[in-house]
Amino acid sequence: MAGAVVPAIRIQREDFDVAAEIAGLTGGRTDIGAVVTFSGLCRDEQGALSALELEHYPGMAEAEIGRIAAEAIERWPLQGLTVIHRHGKIMPGENIVLVVAASSHRQAAFEAANFLMDYLKSRAPFWKKEHLADGSEGGWVDAKEADDHAADRWKKPGE
């Protein structure tokens, strides 16, 4: 039953192990037919970036991702869901965010992971600051209008 799924949500400074997170969702189970994972990584912007600093709103970050995850569980028949978002200083090549969605069939897992990422980008209280390779502070990353539009496409009629 979809209602019985409790999402695992973690906000942490440490890195995560993608394979271990998948194994944690599927281990000992034989009913899962599809696992979709999305990992977001820090990129170096053609060598210009030395690190990203992720600020977050402790308490609300967990609560808001919990609300987004609960909506995903209501909308798709998921059998398991893990969301991890890191904060603090993150170097190019390192992980920032992970979504693992498990379901009987692939479509629900793909769509739920996609929905979660679109909503995380526009509603989870995190902010990225750039540190540049030349040693200067690069300033805060601007929110992209495209991310808001990406989230809007999941709205149900009348919302």
Partner: protein
């Protein structure tokens, strides 16, 4: 009753502190009235909040719109559009 205000990202940097307790004057009933009052508190607030339309607000750790009433708010957070993920 005092209210806790919390600031993040460039809102925090421009105001120059991460949080503060304030006594809201009577007559401040909505989020937009709060933003207008804060801007009158000094140059750093004016600098942070001069384009109030872009400021996102959470009351008690939930997103709200600018027309939301702030009665009963324990914690009000002001921040720029989010850029996580």
């Amino acid at each position: 009753m005092s209210t806790k205000l919390i600031y993040f990202a460039w809102v925090r940097e421009r105001i120059g502190k991460p949080e503060e307790e304030v006594e809201l004057p009577s007559g401040i009933e909505t989020v937009s009235e709060l933003l207008r009052w804060l801007r009158s508190r000094g140059e750093e607030y004016e600098n942070a909040l001069q384009y109030p339309d872009v400021i996102r607000v959470a009351i008690n750790q939930e997103h709200v719109g600018h027309r939301e009433k702030i009665a009963g708010a324990r914690e009000i957070a002001l921040f720029p559009p989010m850029t996580g993920g």
